[in-house]
Subunit: 492 residues, 2 copies
Amino acid sequence: DFALKPTVPANPACSTDPGRPCRHPLTNEAENQRLLAHELTVKGRFDGIVPVLKRIAGQQHEADFVERAQAIARADLGFELPAGILGDAWIANLDMRALYGECVMRTVRLMAEEARTANPQQNVDEVVAFFLDSGYHAVDISPCSDGRLKGLVRYVLRLPDGAVRSRKAYAGAMFDVDANVKRWIETELMRYREGRPVAADAGTRYLKVVVYHWSSSDPTHEGCAAHGSNVTDAAEAGLARLREFRQAIENSFCCGASVDTLLIGVDTDTDAIKVHVPDADGEMSLYRAVYNLELYRATVNDDASSARLKVYQAIQAASAVTGWGAGKGEPHEGMRRLIATLLINNLSQIEYVCGNWGGRYPDIGHNERFISVGDGFEEFQVRNLAYFAHLHTVEEGASDLDVGIRIFSKLNVLHGLPVPVAIHFRYDSRVPGCRERTMERCRRVRAAIEIRYAELSRSGLLVCGMTVQDKRPGSPLEAVEANGASVLRSER
Amino acid sequence: DFALKPTVPANPACSTDPGRPCRHPLTNEAENQRLLAHELTVKGRFDGIVPVLKRIAGQQHEADFVERAQAIARADLGFELPAGILGDAWIANLDMRALYGECVMRTVRLMAEEARTANPQQNVDEVVAFFLDSGYHAVDISPCSDGRLKGLVRYVLRLPDGAVRSRKAYAGAMFDVDANVKRWIETELMRYREGRPVAADAGTRYLKVVVYHWSSSDPTHEGCAAHGSNVTDAAEAGLARLREFRQAIENSFCCGASVDTLLIGVDTDTDAIKVHVPDADGEMSLYRAVYNLELYRATVNDDASSARLKVYQAIQAASAVTGWGAGKGEPHEGMRRLIATLLINNLSQIEYVCGNWGGRYPDIGHNERFISVGDGFEEFQVRNLAYFAHLHTVEEGASDLDVGIRIFSKLNVLHGLPVPVAIHFRYDSRVPGCRERTMERCRRVRAAIEIRYAELSRSGLLVCGMTVQDKRPGSPLEAVEANGASVLRSER
Ligand SMILES: [Zn+2]
Ligand SMILES: [Zn+2]
Ligand SMILES: [Zn+2]
Ligand SMILES: [Zn+2]
C-alpha cells in the first residue's frame, strides 16, 4: 500500500536528468548519510516489534514459553517483556494488545536513551551565533502536529535541536498566541536580567516561524487534515496567526516591542520548503515565496558559488514580484541571510529524499508509530515517527488529540492494534516540587485521555505510557508509574 | 441555625468591657460604615431572591402571571426574569431551579455593574506608593478559596483592590508555584522594560503572601476544609509552599533574584489576623507571630499614639521570642512597617465585627451564595458571598471545585436549590482574538463542569452562568451565550 500513484512522476526534483544520481554542489552528503542511518535505525526498531511479537505468539503454548519469549525479545528488541503479561498467557491467550503497547513504550524509552548517550555534539553554538548574527536572539518554530513534520528541524531545516527556542506543534500549526506571549516575556527577561543570549540593547529580535504543509502528489487528500487538505487555507491561517502574535506583542508592550515572523510551507512528499519572503515592513504574502524544489532543479548542475548566488537572486526576485504578491521592498539583511541558509540547508534534504527514496517518500500519507502527547521528545526528529500534540490538559488540547486518534484508528485500530500514546512532560529541577507536580500532570492527562476515549481504552485499544524529563539538556527520561491500575482498564 | 454555641463568649475582642461600645483609637469608623452598607446591600440582593421567587410561585396559575411576575421581579430584584421560563409555566409547573439559578447569575452581573459604576475612586496610588516605600513593587496574595475569606483584601486587610498584583484563591491556599513563577517573570519584565512601577535597579522586591484560616469558635469543624480543619496543618502547608516559591525563584534566576514572603492567618469568626513575623533572613515560624485580637484588647483603651507604639512593640516582641519560634533577628524596616500597617488596618475590621455582629459573625460556617470559577470577580469582596476556585481548566482545578460542590450540596442541594456557578474569565483586549478565545474557555469550562457533575446538572441542580471582562480596570462584564443548550441539560 506504499505504491505511488502511476500519474505521479517519480523524482520531481531531478527529473531533468533521471539517469544520473543527484549531486547538488551545496548539499552535505556526510550529514545525509548520518541522518539516513538514524532514520533507518529508529524506524527499524519500531517496525521490528510486530514480527517479533508474531514469533513470540507462535510459541505461547510451549512449556518454557516465558524464557523463550524473553530470549527473543532481548535479542531482537533490546529489552525484556513485562513478566506479568507473559506469565498470564497460560490462562487465556497472550494479551497481544497490551504487549504491543508495552513494546512501543519501551522502544520509545530505549531510542531516547540511545539518542541521548550516542548523539554527537551538535553545532548548537555555531548556529546560535549565526542566528544572532542575522539579528535573532531566539527562533521559535510552530509546525503542524502532523507526524510527517516530525523531522522538520533536524532533517527538513537542518538545524540542531538546541538552537531552536521552542518547537511546540499544534494541529494545523495553530499555535497558542497567549502562551507564546508568555514565552516571549520569559525570553525578554533573560536578555534584560542576564544578558542571555545577548543584552537587551543589542538590537536583536525574536523570530516566530509557522510551518504549514501540503502533499504535492495527492494535494486534496494527503495535505493538512486540520485545514481539510486545502493548502491555501493552511497557509492563510498560519499567516493570520503570525499577524495576531506580532500585534499582541506590539499592543501589549510599549517602547517599540515587536517580533519578526516567517511563514514556511513544506511539501511532505519531497520535504522541499517554500519560504514566504517578508517585505521591508515584515509583512508576508501567500503569493511572494521561494519554492526550493525549483531552486534545486535550477542549481543542481551549477558549481557551488553560482548556486549560492542563485539562491540570493531567487530571494531578490521574490521581493521584486508584482501583482498579488507585491510587497514593500526587501527584508533586512539578516532575514535575507537566514532565508538563504534555510533554503541551502533544505537542498540537502531534497537530495536526501531524491537519493534514498527516489525523490518522493514511499509513505506520502500518515504512517506514524505512536502519538506523542505533552511536551514531546527532543530525541525524536524523524518523519512520520509520531503524531505530536502539544498540550497541558486534554480539556484544552482535545481537538488536536482527536485528530491523532482519528489517524490511528486507520493506522492501528483497524488492524486490531492499540493506539500507543506516549505522554511526556518536562520539569524544572530547580523548582521545588516541580518533578512531582509534573508526574501528577502525566497521570491527570492519562486519566483524561482514558475517559475521553473510553471505548478504545476499555477494549485494550489504547495504551498509554508516561515519562518525565528534566529540562536541562541531556537529561534522562524517567518512567512514571500509573499509581495503581488505569482508570478504566480495571473495569474490563 | 445561626445561633452561637453557648460555650463561646459573645464578643472576644472587647470582652474586657462588654457594656461599652467598641471604639479603638486607630480604627476608621467612616470606612466601617461604608463597608457595612456595601455588605448589607450585596447580601440583601442575594438573600432577596428566594422570598421573591416564593411570591411569584404563588401566582403562577393566575391569568396574567407573566406580567405579574415581571412586575414583582423588576421592583424587588431590579431585573426581568427570563420570558421563556415564565412562559412555560402553564404547561408544567414553574421551573424554580432554573429560575433561581438565573436570578443568582443576573444578580451577580447587576451587582458587578453597580460596583463598577458607583465605587468611589479608591486610594490605589497612595497604597502602591506605601508598598514601594516599604520596598515592594508588587504584592501578590493567595488566600484559601473558602468564601469566608472572600472579603480578605478589602475588609480584613483594608487594601484597595487595585493595589494588589494578584489574589488568586486556591483550596487550602495551596497556590500554583509554577504559575506564580510566570507571574513573577511578567512583573520583572515590566520593571526592566518600562520601569513600572519602579526601575529594576530600585532595590525593591516582590512580596508573596499566603493567607490560611481557622475558626476560633469551632476549630475542629469550621476551619479550613482543605486541611481537615487543622490549623497547624494549614499554616505549615502555607509556609512550605512559600518556601518552595522563594526557592524556585532563587534557583531559576541568577544575580541574587529572590522574593519576600509573608504568612498570615485569619480567624474567620472574628476576622482578626495573625501575622507571622519573618526574621532578618526572611524565614518565618508558626510560633513567631502577632495575634491581632490580643493587640486590639491591649490597645482599645489607649490613645492613638500609644496604641501605635504598642503595635510596633508587639512586632518587636515577636521577633525577640525564644524557644520554638526563635528567629535570626528582626525583618527589614519596610517589612516591619508593612506588618504594622496590616495590623492597624485589621483593627478596624475587628471593630467592624464587634460593632455590627457582636464580635463574632452569626454565620461562622459556610454560607456562600454562589461558586465563582475562573479569574473571579474583582467587584465582589464580601465575606461568605462566594466560594472562589481559581482555575483555567476543570482538569487541573477539579479538586478545588469538588470542595465547592461539597459545600453547596449542604447549602443548596439539600434544600432543593441548584448550585449557582459563575464562570468568569478576564481577557486582554490588546491581544487579537483573546476575547473570543476567552469566551471559548468559558464554554469549555462549563461543558467540563457539566460533565464532571453530570447528575446534578441533569436534574437541574447545577446552573452555570458565564461572563468575560477586559483586563483593563473598570471594564464592564459581558455575558457569554451558551452556544445552544448545555451539554447535558438537553438530555433531560
Ligand atoms: Zn497539518
Ligand atoms: Zn534526485
Ligand atoms: Zn480553607
Ligand atoms: Zn467590641
